[in-house]
Each structure stands twice: as C-alpha cells, then as structure tokens.
C-alpha cells in the first residue's frame, strides 16, 4: 500500500513539475508543433502527440510521440508515413526507453589523469577544441541524410577529416556491386509490393534487413491467405523470423549462396541466351567459370523447383544479405544477385535504382576502422564519435579502445554512455533524438523531420550545435546559426513548398514527401566484372560462426533497452538471454543441451555463452547474436559479443567487414539454465495453435473444433456434432437465450462486445505487440532471475508451437493475451468480484478490489493473468515514462490485459462528449495499433459491419479451447494457411 501511495504522489509531482517546466520550456522560443488536433499548450491530463522520426535503426520510420504533461510516454507509428504507415516494430516501441535511459550522459566530462571527470561545458569544449586544433579529425556518426548530415559534412570539412556514417549492418557489398554493374554507388530499393516470387538468400527482410517494417507490410499484403499473391523461398544458414515464415525453407551454408546463385544464373542464362548481349554473356561466363558447382546441401530437384518458380514468376525478386552471409566474396555474390534480378527482369518491378536510398550513404567498415585506427596511432589524427559506438560494433574494438584512450584523441558526443564514451578524452552530452531538431531523408524526396518532443532531461546540447560551437571556436565562421537552420534549409531545398506556414505543416506531418523520380532502367556495364574475386568456399576445422542480427536487438543496440531484453525473442522464447544458437548436429556431437555453457575460441578471443539448440539451423553452425556485452546488460546475462570472435578483415572491393570468417573452436564448460518463458513447445496433440493446408483452403474444407477435437466437414459440408462451439456473431444473435451447449442463457451486451481477431497467417512473431504492451500498460520489468522463476509479467506473449504439420524446424506463433471470455472461469471464482464481465464484453480486473488469492490465475485456462509478486522498482528517470492513464499495480494484486480499457473508455467519453456513436477503428489497443503486418484487428462484435466482426466470421476462425471449456472468448484466431509445397519435405 505504502509504495502504491508513494507512486501516486510521485506521479503528482511529475504532473506538477511538468506544469512549471511546461510554461517556460515545452513551448520555447522556437515553437513545437503538435499534430493537427492536438492542443498548442500542454493541458494536464490531455495527451499531446508530436510527429518525428524513429532513429532506433536506419530505416527511418515516421513516429508519433504521445506526450503527457510534456513528457513522451509512448511512441506510435506515423500513419501518414509511407514507410511504416502507422506501424512500429519492437525497437521503435522501446526507443522511448533510450530517452529515459539510466545511462544518459548527464554532464560534460573530461579525462583527467586517466579518469573521466565532470566538467563545465566551457572546460569540456575548450579541451575538445584544443584536441581538434592540433589534429585532423574524422566525424563518425550514425546514418544521416539531409540537412543535419550536411551540417556534419561542413563540420567535418572544417575539422579536416571525412564524415563517416557508421552502420554495423551496412550492406556495402550491394552498393559496391551496383557500382560495378551500373556505375552507381548506391543500395537499390527492394520492394515486395508487386512481387509474386521472392527468393531470399539469408536476407531477414521481415525484421532486420534494410527496411523491415516496409518489407513486412508488403509481405503481409501480398501473402494474405484470402488472396495469396506471394510465395517466399528462403535459403540460408539460420532460421530467423523470415526463414520461419517462408513458404519454402531450406537451410543452406553461408558460403553456398554464391554457388546457388551461380546455378540459378546458369539456368536462367540457358533459357535466355538469345536475348542476352554478347558482352553480358561474356561477363557472365567470366563469373560463372570462377564459381564452383554444384552447391552443397541443396538437391538438384529442389534447385530445379526454385528456378522454375523464379522463371515463371511475373515479378520475381531475389534478395541476399545480412551478417550471416557477408563473406570474403560478398561483392561477387552481391553482383550475382543483381545480375540475376536483372536477368529475371526484376528491375523496376521489385528492385529500384536511383532512389538514393539512405543506406547508400553508410560508410564502409574499413574506412571507419582505419579512421579510428589512425586516431589511435597517428598524432595528427583524431576522431569525433557522434552517438555511435564503433568500439562495440567493430572487430578488435577492445584493442582500438585501449589505444584510443591512451592516445587521448577521441571526442564522444553521446546521449548514452557506451564503450566509446568510456575511452573518450572528452564526453559531451548530446540531445537524444527525441529532444532534438533534425531530418532524415530515407530516400530521395522522402524527408522525415525530427522535432524536440520534450525539454532536455539533462544538461545536454544538440550535437549539431556542439559541432558548430567547436568549429566556431576553431575560427571557422558558421554558414548557418544553428542545426535547426540546416534542417530548414535542407527541407526548403528538397521540398521547396512556398505555402505560408508550410514549415509548420511539415513539422506537424513529421515529413514532406516529394515523389521520387521513377528510375529508368540503368544500362548495365558488364565490362568490369573480371575485377571480381572468385567465390570463396569455407575450409578448415571447426564450426561456422554466424553473427546474427535479431528482431529485438538488431545490431546490438537493442540490448540497451530493458523492454527489449524482457520481451522474449519469439524464436528462442528466452528473456534476458542472448544465447549461442547451436545447430542440432553440433549439440549432439558436443553433447550439450539448452542452457549449457560453452567456451568459444577463435584466433581473436575466447568467450563463453549459453547454448540454445537451434532447430532448423544449417548443420555445423553456431549463431551468435549481436548485443552481447552491451554496457547496459547485467552480470547474469552471459552474452558474448560476437565481434570479439572475428578479426578486422575487410572485403577489398567494397570495404565491407567480412562477417563470415570461418571456423571457431568450441568446448562444453558448465551446466546452466536458459531464462526461457516457455514450458514445452510441443502441442502434445492439444488443438491450441491451428492451421490448414492451402489446398484445403482452396477447396473450402475448413476444419472445425467440436467435442471430439478437429473435424472436417463431410461432402455435403456438414459437421458431425451439432454441439460445436458458436462463433462470436452467432453467439451475439443468441444473447439472452440458452444455446444448445450452455446451461444458462448468454449474457447480454447492450452496446458493445469488444473483440479481437488474430490472423495467425499474418503473425511473423516480431513481438512488437508485446513491447507495445509493456510501453502502454506500465508493466514492470522483472529481470532474469524472476523470469527463471516463471514470474515474468507480460500481459501478452507470442507462444511458439511445434504442431504436427510444421516442417524443417519451423515453428508456429500464437499470440496469447487475455481472451476476454464471455464465460470466464477466472471471474466466477474471485471472492470479491475483482474480476468480472463488463457490459461491453471485457473481462475487467479491479486492482483496488483484488485481494490476491490467485484463484483466478489458477482457473484461467490460457494462463494470461499475472501476479505482482513484489513491488517492482521504477528508478528515475524511467518512471517519467509511466502512462498516467494506467494504474501502477501494487504488490499482491493480479493484473492482466483488458484490451487497453483506458483507451476504450477515453474514446467512449470523447464520443459521448461529441454526441456521436463510436466509430469503428476509432479504438485501437496498443498491440493492434503497432502490429506491422496487421495480424491483429480490434472492434465491436455487435457491430456487424465492423472490420473486426467481418474478419471474425472468416471460416478460418476458431476460438482457443472454446469447444472444450465453453469459455466463449472475445478473441478469434484465424488459422494459418501453410503452403502445400512444404508437404513431404524435411
């Protein structure tokens, strides 16, 4: 109780503080522009939403920042942004946590006698200027494109060094290949929008590759069961989410992408010889002759299949990329990919050049590495790190770090402490992107605008302004007074809009979009192909080490956000765990099982990691996820940083890092347990996560659950048991009456019966919904120890099911949140009515009334209720993110999902206030709102025209365990429709 009250007082304090601050700062001399209808000034209790850009990864999706009392509390996708169209991934959801990170740099710091000591801005800047004065300094920032980037370039020019955009996952080989083939140093834009056949070689396009949200959205559109236009084939060393969702999936060694492409090319060439120019043919032969053939681990029949699919495709698309496959021969392979796409006529259908994709600006790893190396070893060289942490993301970071610290010519502008700030001579606190002006041009003509959405938490400054300050101190006149002016200048230049308050409108919209010039087919210049090195085949002893980027941790920066660590990875079902994924054959030979600790040795380092046996991984591979050894991680998370295991080896042609460096040694060292949230993935013949074959779907033979389990209709389309469970709509028709399988009349819902439809066919397991739920509902983060005890508090979970019909190590995902049962077993057992059924069909949980008997949780068949075992700490400044609309639950009460009831109530009040009925789609729970593939739909089942209601009547629909328990859930699941082509394989 006490703590409850304290929290309440705190939140009061926050509000009050906000008001005080709010007056003088959150409407500063430069006005912030709220989105359309939002109030101009901060009104307590009313959320103001601002548009900006997500900088959690280089994709540059549009953001809406929901602020209360001048504090950002929740990030949503910007519906008007063409890239993400209102959706947001888990990383985007968690981006707000980096604003409130406990590791924020709070004051300028200067190294004195080897120790970083707080200093005044002036001292720090003086020291920095001093360093810069006597050196040539490279400016290393994250990926930037636009006005701010221009500022950085100018500054770099003044400082006498280059401006490098460092992105660990930069697809340099593709850019290099483009240069070779088309004489353009750019990364083409890949789009699944029109594609009908997609072959992905390693590329995890649904969740980490280039522009995941966009790809995911396009995939969902093309792949939806009702009108399926898209077929995805995946070949690659790792079963990541994309592989898991692929219609046809086959594990393939990293170094076999080249040979496979070669084989495909050969096949294509064989078909198209007549149409090809002599030069091209000549070039092709040059490449293909260097290619070893045939590929290992892929049967000719399978290859045949794939080739046919590609050749018969209307708009094929071949994608390749990702750290798992970037090898010594990356450029060669990339070239082959582009060639194949070219020959398949994919250009301008699914592959676009000349869009000026931001990724093109990403610097080569080699360049960045050498910049750092010089700063470390050459007295005239310095480096200025701007927000990025190359020491964490580059091989040999540790050595570089030590040298840099010794050299003392490293200046770090950062908002969070990281490996680089640790070695810097001067550390200057920079604004968090949510605190700063800026812009980000995803591709030519699509400019996203950043605006500060809160008063800076600490004594930080805009990095751009800091640079301007420094250059001024060095005696270079400012071209423009501040970084904001650079942004405006760039905006004017790009979207020269002369309307009176165009700028304000642009800010409100968060972007300006000038349709990009549609590229014409760029002539292919085959004359330089002979420069390409031959394909490289891995050799030697040991295990293939695959460095992996994952949904939640991306290039490792995700590990900085608690939510992303607490959210279990859908594939590993582990929280607070970055396991070493071991292929099954290796697990057998090493005799290790999940949780065992193994020692990994490479020429460069020896590290330890917890094993997770990865079903469906390519034999003899060990995948290590980026994110290990992130400074934010607590001790007990035994996670190695894969970059330590590989050396600074770069592809000479593209300057890209060679990620696949071959073999490492491995030894079993100790027993331990994985912090898994999953009991058993095997469904044990329990019909929980259901699916059906595409052929059944085509024939309209929809299975239905009845008392005897899953039954198919007979020829006449009838089902044997009359007593099958009703679906929501039939049920609503029966309200007030007693259906055949009920002993009592059904409860009546006067106006609404809120419900959700979950399309298992669309769910890719990206866990954005789970993270969104954490963000929206003030769900405490419990940490690894508690997860091990089975005490995680997530209201929603993405379950992993291995059902009878899955193959090749794929798994099915089943998002489970409170089912809002019409006849909830949990309600009736509660002695105090803390759990009850609201008139609008929700399964309400009254926290104040809850005594904590935990009977409801016992009796909940879906096990979606969560108990507060302790009072969970919410340290400053993280508590500023708490959503004031949602109670912070005290120790000893049960909590659970209620379809974001506060949003429902708010919308209902608004509607009542405006004297109108609720509109369909007006209310969106956090999970539904953010789901990138639109797998979740929410609405009022009593409104037959509502989108959700329509979907709930889909014949694929079923309600989990309803046939057995008569719970009449408010959540309808639509079966996954799996491709028949998988039948009989694996």
């Amino acid at each position: 109780m006490r703590v409850d009250r304290r929290d309440f007082l705190k939140s009061l304090g926050i509000v009050g503080g906000a008001l005080v601050v709010g007056c003088n700062t959150s409407a500063p001399e430069e006005k912030l522009h709220a989105y359309l209808s939002a109030p101009k000034a901060v009104v307590p209790g009313v959320a103001a939403t601002y548009a900006t850009v997500c900088r959690a990864c280089p994709a540059g999706c549009g953001l809406w920042v929901k602020t209360r009392e001048g504090k950002p509390i929740k990030l949503e996708g910007n519906p008007d942004h063409p890239l993400n169209q209102g959706k947001l991934c888990a990383r985007g959801q968690a981006f707000v946590q980096s604003l409130y990170s406990p590791r924020r740099v709070q004051t300028p710091m200067v190294r004195v006698a080897g120790e970083l000591r707080p200093a005044s801005w002036n001292q720090a800047l003086e020291r920095a200027a001093e360093i810069l004065g006597e050196t040539r300094c490279a400016v290393v920032s994250g990926l930037e494109q636009g006005g701010y980037a221009r500022l950085l370039q100018d500054a770099a020019a003044h400082l006498g060094g280059p401006h490098l955009c460092f992105e660990p996952l930069a697809p340099r080989p593709l850019a290099a290949a483009c240069r070779l083939l088309f004489d353009r140093d750019e990364v083409p834009v890949f789009s699944l929008a029109q594609a009908d056949q997609v072959l992905s070689l390693g590329a995890d396009f649904l969740d980490t590759w280039l522009s995941p949200l966009q790809h995911a959205r396009e995939w969902a559109e093309g792949h939806q069961a009702e009108q399926r236009a898209l077929f995805v084939t995946y070949l690659g060393p790792r079963r990541h989410l994309t592989a898991n969702m692929a219609d046809d999936f086959h594990p393939l060694a990293a170094d076999q992408c080249g040979p496979v492409l070669a084989a495909l090319l050969r096949a294509v060439v064989a078909r198209q010889k007549p149409t090809l120019t002599a030069a091209l043919q000549e070039a092709l032969t040059q490449i293909l002759d260097k290619a070893p053939a045939p590929p290992r681990g892929l049967s000719d029949a399978r290859l045949e299949q794939i080739t046919d699919r590609l050749l018969s495709a209307r708009a094929p698309l071949v994608m390749w990329g990702g750290p798992e496959v970037y090898g010594r021969d990356a450029t060669t392979v990339a070239t082959m990919v582009l060639l194949l796409n070219h020959l398949l006529g994919a250009f301008d259908k699914t592959v676009f050049l000349g869009r000026g994709h931001a990724w093109s600006k990403a610097a080569a790893h080699a360049t960045v590495y050498s910049a750092l190396h010089q700063a470390a070893h050459e007295p005239q060289q310095a480096v200025l790190l701007l927000g990025t942490d190359p020491l964490f993301s580059l091989p040999g970071g540790a050595a570089l770090g030590a040298a840099l610290q010794k050299a003392g010519r490293c200046i770090a502008l950062a908002w969070e402490h990281n490996h680089s700030t640790a070695v810097a001579e001067v550390v200057l606190p920079a604004h968090h992107p949510l605190e700063s002006w800026g812009d980000y041009e995803v591709e030519r003509g699509l400019v996203g605008l950043l605006q500060p959405v809160r008063v800076p938490l600490y004594d930080s400054r805009h990095p751009g302004d800091i640079l301007l300050d420094l250059t001024t101190r060095l005696g270079h006149p400012r071209r423009l007074p501040s970084s904001k002016d650079y942004v405006i200048e760039a905006w004017q230049h790009r979207c020269n809009d002369l309307a009176p308050n165009a700028w304000e409108d642009a800010l409100s919209a968060g972007l300006c979009h000038v349709p990009a010039p549609t590229s014409t087919i760029v002539p292919l210049k085959p004359n330089r192909l002979h420069l390409l090195p031959p394909l490289y085949a891995a050799s030697g002893q040991g295990v293939d080490l695959l460095v992996a980027a994952t949904t939640l941790l991306y290039d490792g920066r995700g590990a900085g956000a608690e939510w992303l660590m607490e959210t279990p990875d859908s594939l590993t079902q582990c929280a607070w765990e970055i396991p070493a994924e071991l292929s099954q054959d290796l697990a057998l030979t090493l005799n290790v099982s999940d949780g065992d600790v193994v020692t990994l040795t490479s020429p460069h380092a020896e590290v330890q990691g917890r094993v997770l046996v990865a079903r469906g991984a390519c034999p003899n591979t060990l995948a290590l996820r980026l994110g290990g050894e992130h400074p934010a991680l607590p001790e007990e998370v035994l996670a190695p940083n894969p970059m330590r295991l590989i050396g600074p080896v770069f592809d000479p042609l593209s300057g890209a890092l060679v990620w696949v460096q071959g073999r490492i040694g491995m030894a079993r060292s100790a027993k331990s347990t994985l912090a898994s949230v999953m009991g058993s993935p095997h469904s044990e013949g329990r019909n929980l996560c259901l699916s059906m074959s595409a052929s059944d779907f085509a024939k309209g033979r929809f299975p239905r659950m009845d008392m005897h389990g899953e039954v198919l209709p007979d020829a006449a389309g009838n089902y044997p048991d009359k007593r099958y469970a009703q679906m929501p709509v039939e049920e609503i028709a029966l309200e007030g009456q007693r259906p055949a399988n009920n002993m009592t009349p059904l409860t009546e819902h006067p106006e609404q019966r809120w419900g959700m439809v979950v399309d298992l066919d669309r769910c890719i397991g990206c866990a954005a919904c789970v993270t969104a739920c954490y963000a929206e509902n003030n769900i405490p983060v419990v940490g690894r120890a508690e997860v091990l005890r089975g005490r995680e508090l997530s209201w929603m979970r993405i379950e992993q099911h291995i059902t009878a019909d899955v193959r090749q190590g794929q798994v099915r995902f089943l998002p489970i949140m409170c089912q809002q049962c019409g006849q909830a077993p949990c309600e009736t057992v509660c002695p105090v009515f803390a759990a009850y059924h609201t008139p609008d069909g929700l399964n309400a949980q009254v926290y104040n009334r809850c005594v904590g008997t935990r009977y409801c949780s016992n009796n909940c068949p879906y096990k979606v209720r969560r108990f507060n075992w302790f009072d969970y700490p919410r340290p400053e400044p993280g508590n500023q993110q708490l959503n004031p609309d949602v109670t912070v639950r005290p120790r000893g009460v049960m909590e659970k999902c209620t379809f974001c009831v506060h949003r429902i109530r708010e919308a209902r009040n608004r509607a009542a206030f405006e004297g109108r009925p609720l509109r369909d789609g007006e209310i969106q729970p956090a999970c539904v709102q953010t789901c990138p593939t639109g797998a979740l739909r929410f609405g009022n089942f009593k409104d037959l025209d509502a989108e959700a209601t329509q979907w709930s009547q889909n014949p694929r629909g079923y309600r989990v365990l309803d046939y057995l328990l008569n719970t009449r859930p408010g959540v309808v699941y639509l079966r996954k429709v799996y491709a028949d082509s998988q039948e009989g394989q694996g």
């Binding site: 409860t747 006849q823 309600e827 009736t828 509660c830 009515f833 009850y836 059924h837 009449r968």
Partner: protein
C-alpha cells in the same frame, strides 16, 4: 412464600441409581416436594419421574435452522441483486451455488440457537450456585435427592430416605424464605 416459611428441606446422599429412583418414587407417592435431584450422569429413570417428556430445545433448533436457511439464501440473493455483476455468464441470482451458503447458514444459526435454547431451558449460567443442597460429591459419584416437607414430617422423610438406601441424610437449615 408463606408455605416456604413453614417448610423444611432434607438432602439424601445416594451411592446407587436404583436406590435413588426408589426414593424418588416413594417421595412422590407421599407427595413430598422433590426440589431437585443432583447426579454426575444423566439418569433416564429419575428424569422420567421428575420431568417426563423430551426437552423442547429441538423446537428452538428447528426455528433457528429455518431462519438460517432463509437468512443465508436471502443474504446471497439480495447482495447479488444489489451488486449485480456478471461473472462467467452465470445468472445474477444463481440459486445453485447459493444453496451452499444457505446450507452453512442453516447449520450455523441452528447450532447457535440450540446453544441458546439449552442455556435458557437448563437455566445456565446458574446464578445462585451453589444451591444450599449442592455437594461437591454430586459431581463425582454421589446422587443427591433434595426433598421438602412440612416441619412435622421431617422424621418421616428421614426414615423414607434411609429405608430407600440413602447413605446419609442431611436436614438443611435454610434461612426463612432463603429459597423460593
């Protein structure tokens, strides 16, 4: 009162039930007033002579039980009507589960009223303890027969008691009107 003032009391100590019963019968035959009989155990025979019939406590119990049933069901039904929340689609006035409440209440109130009934009819707690005729041995192994007669009959009664087999006969000296 007036009769009491002229009456005198005798107490016979008995070691055996049959002698006690004999004495009671004789006393009643001679129309001596049997004030009370003390015994360490219930003696049906004696009771049949002194206060025949069954104890009326059972009616109190029955009434109590009935009230309990009605009260219990009533409580459950009325409260659920006052705070009519739907749980698990069960009816608001769900008689089936309320039966349990009704049953328990029946027993509870029934038992309590039984206790009250017993206390009332057995005059417990007995405020005027100990009565002049009560002896500690009556809670061990002796039976006490307390007779009252006119002063002139004292010897007769004494004889009667001794013949019946009283181990010892006391003539109680009671203050005038000490007992009524």
């Amino acid at each position: 009162m007036s009769s009491a003032s002229r009456s005198s009391d005798l107490l016979g100590h008995f070691a055996h039930v049959d002698t006690l019963v004999e004495a009671i019968t004789a006393a009643q035959a001679n129309a001596y007033e049997v004030c009370d009989v003390y015994s360490p155990v219930p003696v049906e025979a004696a009771q049949a002579l002194i206060s025949p019939g069954r104890s009326p406590v059972r009616f109190v119990t029955f009434a109590g039980g009935l009230c309990g049933l009605v009260g219990g069901m009533g409580l459950a039904i009325i409260t659920s009507l006052i705070w009519n929340l739907v749980v698990a689609g069960k009816p608001i006035t769900a008689v089936v589960p309320f039966m349990v409440v009704g049953f328990e209440a029946t027993i509870l109130i029934g038992a309590i009223s039984t206790l009250l009934g017993m206390l009332i009819f057995a005059q417990l707690p007995y405020r005027r303890f100990p009565t002049p005729a009560y002896r500690a041995s009556f809670s061990r192994d002796r039976f006490g027969l307390w007779l009252r007669c006119a002063p002139e009959q004292v010897e007769a009664v004494q004889r009667l008691l001794e013949e019946a087999g009283a181990e010892k006969v006391e003539v109680l000296s009671i203050a005038q009107g000490g007992r009524s």
